[in-house]
């Protein structure tokens, strides 16, 4: 585990200079701790993460460290993977999961309403000895493939003074390691106050559980008889403008459990997640977000100098000022015109290539 932890840290540090020119390495898909944003990471961008969850429930303490990563594909897709290194409560091995997320068009614009459909593949490492085809002599480790939906509203796209983002998330897996035993529905909503570098958020979720018919319980539950609801306040703090440290504290606020063979959810859980961009190119979406903040900082710069402001807020505004200094000559409309001109030139060159393709039927040997 130490080897892996060191590996990811090393990878992050090796690649730090690659994006040294970026002001803030803010990923397009950054959401809260429990809900990813509907946007997908930039095309070809790679992010590595490590996540530690420690909690306490009816079954005693829980601890699950995990590592993973994600990659942006084609501008509208994102593949992500996560591996739980071990779990105190299961057989010792943690869950392997991968997610393929496709977002609606407009991903590279600064959009108000975003939505994404995700295919969630859980490769369970929980020993299944209770389903119809397995027992203690012939255990199985099952895969589960379910869809999930993410919807988010970025209020900053409409109102420049409100850096608020609201999230809704619905999936069919609340605790994936119990999928062999329960059908599940998970509904989570979240609010995030998303500042230039850092953010604060609060998630609220509810997980419904319906016991499946197994060798031990041949009938199973007819409805979702068990549920528990939780809230999770937390925040994101960016280190060195690059590494993102997200933390949150989740606690159960309401639950309904069966008397027999009931669930044992973690009643309180603390999570910390460190994300490191391994290969990062800034996306239009986040560049525009930064520009909005810079614009605002012009108006607020006097206030930012005030000694009475909280330290975090002063730091954020100092960041804006620094960026403003480095982008004084930036002219958005001129950039746009240049891009249109460049696109036209490329188009013309491609048409020339088309003409040059005439009669070309031999293998090309180059390099």
């Amino acid at each position: 585990m130490r080897f892996l932890f060191c590996f990811w840290i090393l990878v992050g540090l090796i690649h730090a200079p690659l994006s040294a020119s970026q002001s803030v390495a803010r990923g397009r898909n950054e959401g809260t701790l429990s809900i990813p944003a509907s946007n997908v990471v930039g095309n070809g961008n790679i992010t590595a993460h490590t996540h530690v969850r420690a909690g306490y429930g009816a079954n005693g303490p829980t601890l699950s460290p995990s590592v993973g990563g994600m990659i942006g594909i084609g501008g509208v897709l994102q593949a992500a993977g996560n591996f739980e290194l071990f779990s105190l409560q299961s057989t010792g091995l943690g869950l392997l999961e991968s997610h393929l997320q496709a977002t609606i068009p407009g991903n590279d614009n600064f959009r108000f309403l975003g939505a994404a459909l995700r295919a969630d593949l859980y490769l369970s490492t929980a020993l299944d000895t209770i389903s119809a085809t397995s027992d203690a002599e012939k255990p199985d480790y099952n895969p589960y493939l379910y869809p999930s939906i993410i919807v988010d509203f970025d209020f900053l796209a409409k109102w420049k003074q409100v850096p608020l983002k609201a999230y809704l998330f619905a999936s069919m897996a609340d605790n994936p390691q119990l999928l062999h035993q329960y059908r599940q529905v998970s509904l989570i909503s979240g609010l995030e106050w998303k500042m230039f570098q850092h953010s604060v958020f609060a998630d609220m979720g509810i997980g419904f559980y319906k016991e499946k018919a197994t060798r031990l319980n041949r009938i199973g539950d007819k409805t979702f008889q068990q549920y528990y609801a939780w809230v999770q306040p937390g925040g994101r703090y960016r280190l060195f403008r690059r590494f993102s440290l997200t933390g949150g504290f989740r606690f159960v606020i309401r639950k309904k459990l069966k008397e027999q063979s009931s669930l044992h959810p973690a009643l309180a859980e603390f999570s910390v997640r460190l994300e490191a961009p391994v290969y990062f190119r800034e996306t239009n979406t986040e560049a525009i977000r930064s520009l909005v903040f810079i614009e605002q900082s012009k108006e607020k710069s006097d206030v930012a100098r005030s000694e009475s402001m909280p330290r975090l807020y002063r730091e954020v505004n100092a960041g804006f000022a620094e960026i403003r200094d480095s982008t004084e000559t930036f002219d958005y409309s001129k950039e746009k015109q240049d891009l249109i001109q460049q696109r036209k030139e490329i188009r013309n060159k491609m048409e020339e290539i088309e003409l040059l393709f005439e009669g070309l039927d031999e293998e090309v040997e180059s390099e």
Binding site: F7, D135, E137, P143, V278, M350, E358, D361, E363
Partner: protein, 424 residues
């Protein structure tokens, strides 16, 4: 020990996943493409470009547990492969499973596979339908592996969590078909691949158990990334509709008889994707999920108990009677790995651009962007027609050397323009 294996597997996967970021960030993705990229086990009908050499490393991991043989087992494999284009229509490959099943807490060397592949020599350009044939010789060096219910012998034959393993020497032939839709319509960058293969053991005791394999895959092949879904099946040839009976001597001296029905053969649905980096490096990930299902007797505790009871006291009123009457002495269960995870890194050791992949890159780049009103196919068709007419006129008046010079000049210009575009 188990945790060390997981660390090995995960470390290898992490290294493979992290490697592309170390190279090739400056060139344009998709500019260097291998002509023979397949969909996991489903092979492409094209061969590696003449003079090109591609090397790949593949890490595989899954969980499989037989309580009678010990605790939970994480199984990590490491494969390496080198592909070289010999002729425009022929390539050779050398593949090896460097790390196979652990035995006595040590990894075993797996196998060595030498192959040759030839395609119909019409692969100068993108082709709508492609056919190829490959022949491989494999030599397995592992004698011990995790087996379903201990069904394996000392020579390395038996049922492993991955399917039936061939020990010693074997031959593997494969016929490949591919439909490349982009060759007909540049708006459809899809590929369909179908493979049919046969595997034959050169061990006289196993001549009677040749295996077939069938793979079909459909995928999107883009400029920077590919995605696909494939179906993969392998099984014993069977000349009747009844389950295939298999029997060979176990290390204990016993020679039980198993029956394998068609749904019990290892069959997987595979989801995968590939990301292409600047220098041609590709990073692929595959997740095969098991589709096989049990027919008749099973290897659960209850299933074994019922079967052995039936064997000692045959009674037509109870299940498994017919199996016992057919001479089956041991229950079989498709107790293969339910899921696997595979990460593959492919590197161009020596790269030669091929016209077909250059054309593909061009069409994909052309279709990218906002202006989608141009019908490239129609325009290319017209250009081809015009070019044909012009060539007819020109070859009538120009000497052959001049035509060749003109062709090279055009080629050089294409290359120059392409570099300009990439720089922008």
């Amino acid at each position: 020990m188990n945790r060390i294996r997981i660390q090995i597997a995960l470390g290898l996967m992490a290294l493979l996943a992290g490697a592309p970021t170390l190279w090739g960030q400056n060139s344009s993705p998709g500019s260097r493409r291998a002509r023979n990229e397949g969909f996991y086990r489903c092979e492409n009908s094209n061969t590696t470009g003449k003079g090109s050499i591609w090397a790949s490393v593949r890490a595989t991991g899954f969980l499989w547990d037989d309580p009678s043989e010990g605790q939970i087992s994480a199984v990590p494999f490491l494969d390496a492969e080198v592909n070289a284009g010999l002729l425009r229509f022929m390539s050779a490959s050398l593949k090896s499973r460097l790390v196979s099943y652990f035995f006595d807490q040590r990894p075993q060397f797996g196998d060595l596979e030498l192959g040759i592949k030839a395609t119909v020599p019409n692969n100068k350009d993108l082709r709508y339908n492609g056919f190829a044939l490959s022949l491989k010789y494999a030599r397995s060096f592992k004698n011990q592996f995790k087996s379903i219910g201990g069904l394996r012998n000392d020579k390395g034959f038996g049922f492993s969590p991955e399917g039936f393993e061939f020990g010693g020497n074997s031959l593997f032939g494969r016929l490949m078909f591919e439909r490349d839709y982009i060759a007909q319509n540049s708006r459809i960058p899809l590929k369909l691949m179908i493979n049919f293969g046969t595997r034959l053991s050169l061990d006289p005791d196993f001549f009677a158990y040749p295996q077939y394999s069938f793979d079909i895959g459909l995928g999107y092949v883009g400029n920077m990334a590919d995605f696909f879904a494939a179906y993969s099946l392998s099984g014993f040839y069977n000349n009747s509709l009844r389950p295939k009976q298999v029997s060979f001597e176990l290390p204990s001296g016993a020679k039980p008889v198993w029956e394998i029905a068609f749904p019990e053969n290892p069959m997987y649905v595979v989801f995968g994707g590939r990301v292409r980096y600047g220098t041609g490096i590709t990073l692929s990930g595959y997740v095969p999920l098991l589709l096989s299902s049990n027919v008749g007797s099973s290897r659960t505790k209850q299933g074994l108990h019922e079967f052995y009871n039936m064997k000692s006291n045959p009674d037509p009123a109870y299940r498994y009677y017919e199996e016992v009457m057919r001479g089956v002495t041991e229950p079989f269960d498709p107790w293969y790995a339910r899921w696997k995870i595979i990460v593959e890194l492919k590197i161009p050791v020596r790269y030669r651009q091929t016209a077909s992949e250059m054309r593909r890159s061009f069409l994909l780049l052309k279709m990218r962007g906002d202006d989608r009103k141009i019908d490239i196919d129609e325009r290319l068709k017209k250009i081809h027609e015009r070019a044909r007419e012009r060539t007819k006129e020109e070859t009538g008046t120009q000497p052959e050397q001049e035509v060749e010079e003109e062709r090279l000049r055009r080629l050089e210009e294409i290359r120059r323009k392409r570099e300009e575009i990439q720089k922008q």
